[in-house]
C-alpha cells in the first residue's frame, strides 16, 4: 500500500496554511531584495492559479507578476481561425477541435458562430475522439484542427501515428502547434515595434508546468546562461507557485542566476523522450508562426513534414485558404503588456471597445489573458 493518497496530490499542494507559510517566508526574504523583481508567468495556467488563489495580495510590494502570453488559444491569430471556419463550411467536411477553441473570434466569427450557421464543427475532449467521428462518417473528410503548446503536441502526433498505422483514409490535419522558448526569447530579446526598443521589465520566469513535463527543463538552459534571467519551473498548484517565487527571490538575494525545478514530481531534465520522438517523426519547425498580439515569431510553430503533405489540410486546401496577414487592432497594446511595459488599463479601448464579450486583442480572449483578468478582478491586481 503506497503512502501517498490521491487526495494528498490535490489538497497537499493547495493547503491554505502552507500558502500562508510560504507568504511569510517570501515576505521575510523579499526585505533583502536590492530592487523590485518582476516575474513573468509564461503560461496562463499559472495566471489562473495566481488569480484564483489571490496570490498577489499575499506578496510584498516589491514582487510583481507580469502575465505572460497566456495560452495557445489566446494567441491564435485570426488568419488561422478563418482557415478553420472556411474548412468547416465545406459540405463534405467535419471540423474537429478541442473545446477551448469554441469562442475565439476570427474575422468571420468564431467556430461557435460557424456551427450556428450550419457548419459541422465538433468540439472534443481528446484528439482520440476524432477516430470515432471518422468511423461514423466514412463519406466525410474529418479535419482535426490541432492546437496547443508542447503539452498537447504529442497527443496530435499520436493521432497521426494511429491514422497512418491503421490506414485511416478520411482524417486530415490543420496544425497550429506553438512552442514556448521561442516566445520567451521574443519577449526579452527582440525589438518592440510599439515602443521601438528592446525594452521589457521581465526579471525572471516562472516556467510552465506541463509544457515542461514533455520537453524537460533543458529547454530553458539558455535563459539564465545567455539572457541572464532565472527560470524556476513550477507546478500549477498555488503552493507550487509560492514555493517557486521563494526560490526566485532567493536566487536574487544570493546573487545566483539559475535554472531550477520546483515541480520535480513531474518534470525531469530530459522530459518525455517518447513524446519528443513522436513530434520529431512527424513535425518540423515552421520558419514563422504569427502570434496574435506579438506578430511573427521565428521557429515558434510546427508544421507537418513534407512527406506527410497528403495529411496536411493546409496543403490540400491551399487554393481556398487565404494567406494574407490580418493586422492586429491598431490601438491594441498587447505586445507592450506582455513585455511588462504597460498595464491593460493604459490601453485606450480597454473595457470600452475591447471587453471579454468582444475581444479585440489576444490578452482579452480567454479568462487567462492579462486584460481579461484586469477586467474581471479590476484593482485587486
Amino acid at each position: 500500500m503506497s503512502q501517498l493518497q490521491l487526495k494528498d496530490l490535490y489538497d497537499g499542494f493547495r493547503n491554505p496554511e502552507v500558502i500562508e507559510g510560504f507568504a511569510k517566508l517570501i515576505n521575510e526574504e523579499a526585505k533583502k531584495l536590492p530592487k523590485p523583481v518582476n516575474i513573468m508567468e509564461v503560461c496562463g495556467g499559472h495566471t489562473h492559479s495566481i488569480m484564483k488563489f489571490g496570490l498577489p495580495q499575499l506578496l510584498p510590494k516589491n514582487i510583481n507578476f507580469i502575465h505572460g502570453p497566456g495560452c495557445p488559444v489566446c494567441i491564435m491569430p485570426k488568419e488561422r481561425i478563418d482557415h478553420a471556419y472556411i474548412l468547416a463550411e465545406l459540405d463534405d467536411t467535419i471540423l474537429v477541435t478541442l473545446g477551448d477553441m469554441i469562442k475565439v473570434p476570427g474575422s468571420h466569427g468564431s467556430l461557435q458562430d460557424a456551427r450556428a450557421k450550419g457548419a459541422d464543427v465538433r468540439f472534443v475532449y481528446s484528439p482520440l475522439d476524432t477516430l470515432k467521428i471518422a468511423q461514423e462518417n466514412p463519406d466525410k473528410k474529418i479535419i482535426f484542427f490541432a492546437i496547443g503548446f508542447e503539452t498537447t503536441t504529442p497527443m496530435t502526433t499520436s493521432l497521426i501515428d494511429i491514422v497512418i498505422k491503421k490506414e485511416i483514409k478520411n482524417i486530415f490535419f490543420h496544425i497550429n502547434h506553438v512552442t514556448v522558448p521561442e516566445v520567451m526569447v521574443e519577449l526579452i530579446d527582440s525589438r518592440d515595434e510599439h515602443v521601438d526598443s528592446y525594452n521589457n521589465r521581465i526579471d525572471a520566469f516562472l516556467g510552465p508546468s506541463h509544457v515542461s513535463v514533455i520537453t524537460g527543463s533543458k529547454i530553458y538552459e539558455k535563459f539564465p546562461k545567455k539572457y541572464n534571467r532565472p527560470v524556476v519551473v513550477a507546478g500549477f498548484e498555488p503552493v507550487d507557485v509560492m514555493e517557486a517565487i521563494l526560490m526566485i527571490v532567493r536566487q536574487f538575494n544570493e546573487g545566483r542566476c539559475e535554472l531550477e525545478v520546483e515541480y520535480k514530481r513531474l518534470v525531469s531534465y530530459d522530459g518525455n523522450k517518447k513524446a519528443q520522438a513522436l513530434i520529431e517523426k512527424y513535425f518540423e519547425k515552421a520558419s514563422l508562426f504569427k502570434w496574435r498580439g506579438l506578430g511573427n515569431i521565428p521557429d515558434s510553430g510546427y508544421r507537418l513534414k513534407d512527406e506527410y503533405a497528403y495529411l496536411d489540410a493546409e496543403h490540400i486546401y491551399a487554393d481556398i485558404l487565404p494567406k494574407e496577414e490580418i493586422e492586429d487592432h491598431k490601438l491594441c497594446i498587447c505586445g507592450d503588456i506582455l513585455r511588462g511595459m504597460a498595464k491593460p488599463n493604459e490601453c485606450t479601448i480597454f473595457g470600452t471597445a475591447c471587453k471579454p464579450q468582444t475581444p479585440l486583442g489576444s490578452c482579452m480572449v480567454s479568462s487567462e489573458g492579462a486584460c481579461a483578468a484586469y477586467y474581471k478582478y479590476g484593482n485587486l491586481l
Binding site: 503506497s2 503512502q3 501517498l4 490521491l6 494528498d8 496530490l9 490535490y10 497537499g12 499542494f13 493547503n15 496554511e17 502552507v18 507559510g21 510560504f22 511569510k24 517566508l25 503560461c43 495556467g45 489562473h48 495560452c71 495557445p72 488559444v73 478541442l98 477551448d100 475532449y125 481528446s126 484528439p127 482520440l128 475522439d129 496547443g148 503548446f149 503539452t151 498537447t152 504529442p154 497527443m155 499520436s158 501515428d161 494511429i162 510552465p208 508546468s209 506541463h210 509544457v211 513535463v213 514533455i214 500549477f236 503552493v239 520535480k264 514530481r265 513531474l266 518525455n272 517518447k274 513524446a275 513522436l278
Partner: protein
C-alpha cells in the same frame, strides 16, 4: 486546457494500450501511447492530458515536498510561539 489532473491507475488493458484511471473519484480511460511499454503499472499516479497519460508522478518526490511543507509549518509555528513568549517578556505595560 493544460491544467491536467493527477489520477491513479486502476486497470491496464494491454491489448488496446489504454489504462483505466481514477480522477477524483471519476473513472475514465487514457491512452498509453506516450509512455514506454510496461512503464505504467496499476497503483501508479499519473498525469492525464486530453485523453493520454503524459507522465508518471514521482511518488517519493511528492511525499518529500509534503514533508518539507509540514516542516516549514512547524518551524513557523514554533517561531510564532517564541515571538509570543518574547512579546510577553517585553510587555510595555509592565513598566520595565
Amino acid at each position: 486546457m493544460c491544467l491536467s489532473i493527477p489520477s491513479k491507475v486502476v486497470k491496464i488493458d494491454k491489448e488496446r494500450n489504454v489504462a483505466v484511471v481514477d480522477t477524483m473519484g471519476i473513472t475514465r480511460e487514457a491512452g498509453l501511447e506516450l509512455m514506454e511499454e510496461d512503464d505504467v503499472q496499476i497503483g501508479d499516479y499519473v498525469l492525464l492530458h486530453i485523453g493520454f497519460i503524459m507522465n508518471k508522478i514521482d511518488e517519493e518526490d511528492a511525499l518529500e515536498s509534503l514533508r518539507v511543507y509540514n516542516e516549514i509549518l512547524e518551524k513557523l509555528d514554533e517561531e510564532e510561539r517564541r515571538s509570543l513568549v518574547e512579546e510577553d517578556d517585553n510587555c510595555p505595560n509592565r513598566g520595565a
